[in-house]
């Protein structure tokens, strides 16, 4: 954004230089603390538009009027300086910018703002904090770095959807993810694919193209996005060209990865011991039962196969990127390209991404400016099956160690208790999602008057997803003669935005800016799929060779928005701030009786440190109190939820007509009213700075399915009928602890909380058959509810459960359901430390979550004291053996279900502290590089998920099985762990 300001400045310079006739010439050089020249620094005469930029060698030269008194020297990333004009030559040294510069420019909806003047709550993460990290997708950069943003990556699957929750959970059945806007273009961030588990369309973005990510958290910042802002807004700004010599940057990194943790299961000896006991206790013969269930005589074999480790492969990552940027006062450009290739840690998982980008800004004359951001991405995602599929590699850990890995013919063994899904990645089998995507926009700006600017932007998010699956005849779903599936989805979202912006800068004590705008958006998604079976051999994988075309489909869906918005900010005496905004959103999604919604917000700020009583305080350098209140909406309610509909139903070869939905014509968006109060502070010239925020969100009119008696032909009707609240604290502290010429240490810490409470429902939503997450009034979203496990009766080895009176029973059905935990964290946050010593720099990013509970659904199969022949976790060996034994593992009883009921037996604390990323770099000395004509060179070693500290006994505490839906947070079901990735890389600038 700052570049745009620079462009305007340059433009003004151009004009003004023609005007002044009687001048003198100033020359000088700008360097940093280490004496290195800085290019592109703005040098201006204060109070005028006269000025210039430094060249590549840091020097400048320009003519100033004779009466010029003060020069203002500023550059992105450095503290602005003012010096008096005397003489005609200057040698300047710019200080390194403060860790948290209050003059920093923050991107807000449809514009930018100086951080000092902001009256709302916005978190910002810049590229410096995540560049060169092997991020599977860019949103992960926010994890632990942005307060108020809770991210659960869910699993170690590449290109998989992840949970992003800004300030808690603000919906039940509509979308809960934030609204994402890239360079002013709203983009599709929800899965387009047909797989059970969502893919992540945002994984197609090259994180290295991103300059900054702003998260609009409170109502005053987000209400300008109206009906789509209740879950917060992510504003992504890509890099753009900088004025100056054309610079070429190339980067390369490579690395390898492994699971953060592997779990231990029984070996053959332990397995036989446990199941012999389990069979004996029930009067069975273990070998006979094993044979009956598996159809093999492997019980008597000497095999000792570690099936669980077979699920993993050696991961690697490689990335090449190149960018070219530069420009002059009128035209600036950035070209970038990258190729990224990641081999996941889970068998068969791979993600490649090739990206290209062109960002250009051009100033036509003093009144007109145009520009374009064009990007094209191609990505291949070789996907892992859904957690609950027998083909999920992690489910291999259920196979008894007694089965041999390979059959006698040397192929993967097919005679196993469950499907040996190693077969799934044999030969020509594939599960590929290929994406072509372009998020592009063009804009034009017209300065109608010095203070009035018109801007129009047309943007498109075009996304083509091609899913292609082939399963050969040896696979579970491909048998007997092969199976192939193709699916194509093309989504195109067009947005046209027109704004008129008015700035009144220098009007004494009063400072006003205002914005009005109109936005139109149209989204269309088309899909076509075909499915074929029966191939001559597994060497044929395309449906052209299928004997049976078993299904085919094509679909289209569409939505439109028509929006009007306005915003005004008023600043009095540089210390009293007022802001107000309003947006009217109309959408085709809203019922005919309720087409338009109004979303207003107001905010106020008081820069207390500007008051006379604090102005000269040496310790407290900055203090601002701010508050806001406003309304936002959630329009992700489905495109046609308000209608009563008929659809087709096929009856063999003929198609019939059936009712499919009964609707309410008044159905509309969900409303969220949010209050925020915050304090921004700085001490010792902002060497220590921070923010404290408290928020309260009241969400009303949540869409819920109201159950109907099915006897009338419908099971439910969707109405705006639920309420929910979220409240919490956010605290951020930044400190520049050591600042010397050779050694620097800055630290940044943030911690956030949210407390969610469901306050109105039609009826409680109980947990599913295998899950614990429920909805109940007065409880947090997804609260765990079920039978409480009370350990083992030492007398007989029976599993015990809690009864209503708190006593225990071995009769599962006599026990009562009770609250077993909460998957929402008590608090979460991050801690970042940056060190630099001479040419070395070290960045350590930690991240933590505390107080959230996890439920391992797979416990019913894998930690159930040998109830069935699934291999068990090693802790089950501590089973009850004889009267008097005190243990929490019941007596093994084959098929008997002793302790197998869904209960808190598999609920665990999911708190963790993780060293999320470490990046150690060395910058080669400039003098050495000049000889080989290199501007800068940095060699680095980086690590993701280096260490995790947790009590969770499963694979990884950052887990969220997505196939079971939104409500079941913190559930683990054979969910693959995250990857620990170590990379080495180099960046060169020419």
């Amino acid at each position: 954004m700052s570049k745009k300001i620079n462009v305007m400045l340059a433009l003004m310079l151009l004009m003004t230089q023609l005007v002044w006739a009687q001048n003198k010439t100033l020359t000088g050089k700008v360097t940093d603390n280490n004496g290195a020249p800085i290019s592109g620094v703005s040098v201006m005469v204060k109070g005028t538009t006269a000025g210039t930029f430094t060249g590549q060698d840091g020097t400048f030269s320009f003519t100033v009027p004779d009466n010029a008194k003060t020069l203002v020297i500023s550059a992105v990333g450095y503290a602005t300086q003012e010096i008096a004009v005397s003489g005609s030559s200057y040698q300047l040294s710019l200080k390194v910018a403060e860790a948290q510069n209050l003059d920093e420019v923050v991107v807000v909806g449809y514009g930018t703002k100086i951080k000092k003047d902001i009256t709302s709550s916005v978190a910002k993460v810049t590229s410096k904090e995540f560049q060169n990290l092997p991020l599977p997708s860019f949103e992960q950069a926010l994890q632990g770095r942005a307060s108020g943003v809770y991210i659960n990556t869910g699993s170690g699957k590449l290109g998989q959807g992840l949970n992003i929750r800004v300030r808690g959970i603000s919906s039940i059945s509509a979308n809960q993810q934030p609204f994402v806007v890239i360079d002013g273009v709203p983009v599709v961030s929800q899965s387009l694919g047909s797989a059970t588990e969502p893919d992540n369309p945002l994984a197609t973005l090259n994180p290295d193209d991103i300059e900054s990510i702003e998260v609009l958290k409170d109502a005053s910042s987000s209400a300008i996005y109206g009906a789509r802002a209740s879950n917060g807004v992510l504003l992504v700004t890509t890099k753009s060209g900088k004025q100056g010599r054309t610079k070429l940057n190339v980067g390369f990194f490579t690395g390898w990865s492994e699971p953060t943790k592997k779990q231990k299961f029984l070996d053959a000896t332990q397995y036989k011991e446990l199941f012999t006991a389990a069979a004996d206790n029930m009067g069975y013969v273990a070998a006979d039962e094993f044979e009956a269930e598996t159809g093999t005589t492997d019980w008597n074999s000497t095999n000792n196969t570690n099936w669980s480790d077979q699920a993993f492969q050696e991961g690697y990552i490689r990335q090449y990127n190149v960018s070219l940027n530069g420009g002059d006062a009128r035209t600036k450009f950035l070209f970038s390209g990258s190729f990224n290739d990641q081999n996941g840690i889970i068998l068969g998982n791979r993600l490649t991404r090739a990206t290209g980008r062109v960002n250009v800004d051009h100033t036509i004359n003093k009144n007109f400016k145009v520009g374009a951001n064009l990007s094209l991405v191609q990505s291949n995602n070789y996907r892992v099956p859904s957690d609950n599929a027998f083909s999920n590699p992690i489910q291999l850990n259920a196979l008894p160690p007694l089965h041999p890995l390979l059959a006698a013919d040397g192929k993967n063994n097919q005679a196993t208790l469950y499907y040996n899904n190693l077969i799934e990645v044999e030969d020509n089998n594939r599960n590929l999602s290929k994406t072509y995507r372009s998020i592009s926009s063009i804009y034009a700006e017209w300065n109608i008057m010095p203070n009035l600017r018109f801007r129009t932007q047309a943007g498109i998010d075009w996304n083509n997803l091609q899913e292609n699956q082939f399963l050969g005849r040896r696979t579970l779903d491909g048998a007997p003669e092969g199976y192939s599936y193709d699916n194509q989805v093309t989504s195109s979202v067009f947005t046209n935005t027109n704004t008129l912006q008015w700035n009144n800068k220098a009007a004494g004590n009063h400072n006003i800016d205002a914005l009005v705008g109109i936005e139109y958006q149209r989204g269309i998604a088309n899909g076509a799929s075909v499915e074929g079976r029966a191939f001559p051999s597994d060497r044929f994988t395309r449906i052209a060779n299928a004997a049976i075309i078993s299904s085919g489909s094509s679909t289209e869906t569409q939505f439109r928005f028509m929006s009007y918005f306005a915003r005004a900010n008023y600043k009095f005496k540089n210390k009293y701030l007022l802001g107000a905004s309003v947006r009217a959103d109309g959408s085709s999604r809203f019922g005919a009786d309720n087409r338009y919604g109004l979303f207003p917000a107001v905010s106020a700020g008081w820069i207390i440190s500007e008051e006379s009583f604090l102005h000269s305080n040496r310790i407290l350098s900055f203090l601002k109190l701010r508050t806001s209140y406003g309304r936002t909406g959630n329009a992700e309610i489905g495109n046609f939820s308000s209608l009563s509909l008929y659809t087709s139903a096929a009856y063999a070869n003929i198609a019939g007509l059936v009712t499919s939905q009964i609707g309410v014509p008044g159905l509309t968006w969900e409303n969220t009213d949010q209050f925020d109060i915050g304090l921004d502070f700085g001490f010792w010239n902002n060497r220590i700075s921070g923010e404290i925020d408290y928020f309260k969100k009241n969400t009303k009119d949540i869409l819920l399915n109201v159950p109907l008696p099915a006897t009338n032909g419908y099971t439910n009707i969707t109405k705006n009928i639920g309420d929910m609240t979220n409240s919490g604290w956010e605290f951020t502290l930044n400190a520049n602890i050591i600042r010397s010429s050779s050694f620097n240490w800055t630290t940044s810490f943030n911690i956030s909380t949210y407390k969610n409470e469901v306050t109105r429902l039609v009826s409680p939503v109980p947990p599913g058959a295998r899950t614990l997450g429920r909805l109940a009034v007065g409880s947090p979203f997804g609260e765990f509810y079920g039978r409480k496990y009370m350990g083992v009766d030492p007398a007989n080895g029976d599993a015990l459960y809690m009864k209503a009176d708190g006593s225990t029973t071995n009769d599962y059905s006599a026990a009562v359901d009770t609250v077993l935990g909460d998957p929402n964290p008590d608090f979460y946050g991050g801690w970042n430390n940056k060190f630099s010593y001479k040419g070395f720099d070290l960045d350590i990013q930690c991240q933590f979550v505390s107080g959230n509970d996890l439920y391992n659904i797979a416990g019913f199969f894998q930690s159930v004291n040998g109830d069935y022949f699934d291999n068990q976790t090693v802790d089950q060996m501590n089973y009850w053996k004889k009267p008097g034994d005190v243990t929490d593992i019941p007596q093994p009883r084959l098929y008997d279900g002793n302790g197998a009921g869904k209960s808190s037996r598999w609920v665990q604390d999911g708190s963790y502290f993780r060293i999320k990323s470490v990046n150690l770099g060395y910058n080669f000395p400039r003098k050495m590089l000049q000889k080989v004509k290199i501007d800068n060179a940095r060699l680095y070693v980086a690590a993701q998920n280096l260490f995790t500290f947790t009590k969770y006994k499963g694979y990884d505490p950052e887990v969220n099985a997505t196939y079971i839906g939104n409500l079941n947070l913190g559930h683990d079901f054979y969910t693959p762990p995250q990857a620990r990735t170590i990379t080495v890389g180099i960046n060169l600038g020419f």
Binding site: G295, S588, Y646, A650, A652, L657, T659, N712, Y714
Partner: protein
Amino acid sequence: MKNIFKILPLAALLATASCKKVLEVEPQQSIDAATALQNDQDVNSAVVGCYALMGGGALYGTNFLMLPDLQGSESYCSWRGTFQSFRQVASKTMTRDNAEASRTWIAAYRAINNANIVLANLGKVNDAALRTQLEGEALFIRGILHFELVRLYGLPYDPATSNSQLGVVIKTTAATDEAAASEKIARSTVAQVYARVLTDLNTAVTKLPDDNGTRADKYTALAFLSRVYLQMGNYAAARDAANEVIASGAYELAPIPLIPFTNKNTAESIWEIQQNEQNNAGQANDGMATFFASKPGIGRADVRMNTSFISSFYESFDFRRRDWYYVGTGARPGNTYCFKWNAFEQNLPVIRIAEMYLTRAECNLRLSTNVGDTPANDLDLIRSRSNASSIAVPVLADILNERVRELAFEGLRIHDIKRLKTATGSFAWNDNKLVFPIPQREVDASVGVIVQNPGY
């Protein structure tokens, strides 16, 4: 600059003026209910929609054909699969939230509503003959679905009593808006439901054509009427209806018993659910072949036959033993499975002419009549087709055993146990546990207007 002030408001005005239209977007895969049914074709399609719903796994696609046999599993078959809902049916431990009890109830009333919508829109059909036929089909569908529901969700019909025990909700009006869809209607008595079923089916018989392709015709309705009367113990009416179907000459037994299950729409079949490769009740988690078959790549082999049932019921040379039972080679290999349900795309015979012969034989024998033919001849027709030895002077038990042999795993077992007042295992014919629970969601959604069955 002045121009911009003229253009902007104008643009805004234009946008405002046109936006009402801009925001009207029609769905593509569905159509608005207000305009869905307009002419002959639309109403005809709505009838086809009813058949499509009936072909789903919740109705004839699986549950109506499989659950009555699972419920009577003792000394007959066993459920081996992982689905708890089916396991509970087999072990008579169904819970109020049993998934099968829920989905069958919901799907049946959805199809009934679709049929009621057809009846409410008959005025839109111009062709008088078509109008009569569609009316007959809608009544047939509404009638048989109420019949299936009352057999599963109500205590058995007992001709010796007034049948005032609760049956199911009788639904004869169409719901197309929120108010109608929210109506809470109490369960009627078993007697009332059977009366409604008879009215609907008898009316359907008068409206339906003699031949209606693969859709229900006059004889389909008569065959179901025969079933209903038999269930009610009205042997004369059951006999006469069965006789009328047989006498029509439209149906005949296939030369060997395999044929009606490996071919579509054979002459033996009175009515069957149409399926094909694309459209069937399911290939992974639903569908008859899915649960019964154990062939390479086909079936989960979840329903396993008791070998002692086969060896004690069928003579070794009985073709039915050869054609209908086999040792599995797919999932859970090495055990015995029923071949009647062998392919995902096969049609599902719901009612076969063999049943009509057996019903006529049973009723004639009970009533000591020979309407149509003698019980011995009817029985012999069935037995000789399968190479079974002939029984010269059949007694009632012979005919009832033949029903088990001939109609095994076709969804009749528990209904026959109930009407014959016998038992399955330790569960007597009128045990509460042989009645499905009313889905808890129905009790909740109706705020208790729909009451739960005893025992749940």
